[in-house]
């Protein structure tokens, strides 16, 4: 029997605010354990939480970017459960009236564009962080994370493959970064993805029993875990077994998922309205303010870069990878550089220099105007493309204008015919055998001689002109 997978995603995003969601403690991830804490985020009785306005602003921005309806009236609720990371014995979250609902995200994936339904996105607080294996075999609890604002983004079960899941996560992350809503640092747990996976006979409308895979460290691992879980479920069903509803962990080293916790019955969280927090009303004016402040989103930017600047789909994707990179590209093009050349230099030599020194393109010493000026120097024949690589490296190191570097280092291209003729003659005199070979019909020797001309000129010979002069001299 042929099966198809049905997958829904839940993503928890830590919103990038300075202070926590309900108190003024810092959200700094790197602080010493339990130093960013106060009676509110420690869950002391009698404290009064107050909602951080910026959490609503960022959540609305994400909701709008995911084409959601923003609730005019929404409220916080208490989700009750017992766990050491939750001293109040409830998490402040949103239940029946989430801030954002009913959206979608179009992703570029295998077989073209696929629309993923966004069920809802709601605000909540992060619990504390548990550290295992402390003294006496106990667990440690660090409340620095307690009360860090989270947005939980839930999709419809619209994925049919692990690749689609990966492409969704990548697109979502890019949007969150463009919005400045989260730093999306996976190692620091700023973005945590959980997959709900089931399989069913192809053509069937009924959903199979699902399992949940969580605590996976990266998108690639999430994709592998989903792939594994689909295969496992199909194997179990083909062998006549049944799927148990459960939470499964992922062992990245062994490449297998394993049962973590059976879910015999649905959790009974006994949600009820949080009486300590006033409802949130986002009126049309507020929504419009957030909408007007949205940056151009990645998909729109990719499209525009293809259409307005003639970039290939691949180049457009690379150049828009970060907002900073895309802004940089536009700044280079704005001062007149050819878009394709600008993209090539950015993705090639400049990116390599940046990767080597671990700096972002938009933060490196080469400003967009200078890169454009360098491309201009190639186009007007002052330097060759080869010399430009050397010039760019020097620009990257010193932050100087390309003209200054060309003058300082004497890198101006030799376009003077008589000077080039002299160099060519020198090379021919030094390589009589190769000249002989060429004249007896071995055309490819010309490439070698051309290399010698470039070498003799220390790379400064105007390649086009030098080639013509060499050709002429050889045919003489």
């Amino acid at each position: 029997m042929e099966y198809e997978a049905v997958i829904g995603m839940e993503v928890h995003v830590e919103l990038d605010t300075r202070s926590k969601v309900f108190c003024a403690c810092s959200t700094d991830f790197h602080a010493e354990p339990n130093t960013n804490v106060c009676p509110i985020c420690l869950g002391m009785p009698g404290t009064l939480p107050m909602l951080n306005r910026e959490v609503v602003n960022k959540s609305v921005a994400v909701g709008l970017a995911l084409n959601c309806t923003i609730a005019r009236w929404s409220k916080m609720d208490r989700k009750n459960y017992f766990y050491p990371d939750l001293p109040k014995n409830y998490q402040i979250s949103q239940y029946d009236l989430p801030l954002c609902h009913g959206g979608y995200l179009d992703i570029e994936t295998e077989g073209g564009t696929r629309r993923i339904g966004i069920t809802r996105a709601h605000m909540e607080e992060d619990p504390a962080r548990n550290v295992h294996g402390m003294m006496g075999g106990g667990s440690g609890v660090d409340f620095n994370r307690s009360g860090v604002p989270l947005l939980e983004i839930v999709t419809e079960p619209d994925f049919r493959s692990a690749q689609q899941v990966y492409d969704y996560l990548a697109e979502l992350k890019q949007i969150l970064l463009y919005l400045g809503a989260s730093d999306c640092n996976m190692e620091e747990g700023s973005l945590r993805a959980e997959a709900n996976i089931s399989v069913r006979p192809k053509g069937s409308e009924r959903l199979g029993t699902k399992t949940e895979v969580k605590n996976v460290a990266s998108f690639t691992q999430t994709m592998r875990a989903v792939e594994y879980e689909i295969k496992r479920q199909i194997r179990v069903l083909s062998e006549g077994g049944t799927i148990v509803q459960e939470t499964r962990g992922w062992d990245a080293e062994k490449g297998i998922s394993f049962s973590q916790r059976k879910k015999e019955s649905a959790h009974d969280y006994r949600y009820f309205p949080e009486p300590d927090l006033a409802p949130v009303v986002v009126d049309e004016a507020w929504e419009r303010r957030v909408r007007d402040a949205l940056p151009e989103l990645p998909a729109a930017r990719r499209k525009r870069f293809r259409e307005a600047h003639g970039l290939s789909a691949y180049d457009a994707r690379v150049i828009t990878a970060t907002r900073g990179m895309a802004d940089y590209f536009e700044a280079v093009v704005r001062v007149g550089a050819d878009p394709k050349k600008a993209a090539n230099w950015m993705m090639g030599d400049l990116q390599a220099l940046c990767t080597e020194t671990r700096v972002e393109v938009d933060a490196c010493a080469v400003c967009p105007e200078d890169l454009a000026a360098m491309i201009g120097l190639i186009e007007n024949g002052t330097i060759s493309g080869k010399i430009a690589k050397e010039v760019l490296a020097a620009m990257f190191e010193t932050g100087k204008h390309p003209k200054e570097i060309v003058e300082e280092k004497g890198l101006v291209q030799i376009s003077d015919s008589s000077e080039l003729e002299g160099i060519v003659q020198q090379v021919l005199d030094a390589n009589p055998n190769q000249v002989e070979q060429f004249r007896s019909g071995k055309d490819q020797v010309k490439g070698y001689l051309m290399g010698q001309v470039m070498k003799a000129s220390r790379g400064k010979a105007n390649p086009k002109l030098a080639s013509q002069i060499l050709e002429k001299a050889l045919r003489a």
Partner: protein, 100 residues
């Protein structure tokens, strides 16, 4: 006849991590049933055209600005904990995967 059974009371007590003796259990069967009775009473009212009440507070949009204030000294935070190591609160080993 009571609509609340001892089983219901035990279920709710379990969710709240409460251990009940026989007497308390019997009393809670009566009390919880009485609460349902009160709900029945409310249900007799005609609420047509009355807007549902979603929240006890009538005020909305009480916010704080995103500004970092002072946290409390760690010693003070840890002081009342049954167990700590000077940096972390120490609790019995947690086996379950994390909730969030």
């Amino acid at each position: 006849m009571s609509r609340i059974t001892e089983k219901d009371v035990d279920y709710v007590a379990g969710l709240a991590r409460l251990r009940l003796d026989e007497e308390a259990r019997a009393r809670l069967v009566r009390e919880m049933d009485a609460i349902l009775g009160y709900m029945d009473k409310l249900n007799e009212l005609n609420t047509e055209g009355v807007e549902p009440m979603m929240h006890a507070l009538e005020m909305t949009n009480v916010f704080r600005d995103d500004v970092v204030g002072e946290s409390m000294p760690r010693d003070l935070a840890l002081e009342t904990a049954p167990q700590h190591d000077g940096a972390y609160f120490i609790v019995p080993p947690i086996m379950d995967p994390e909730e969030s």
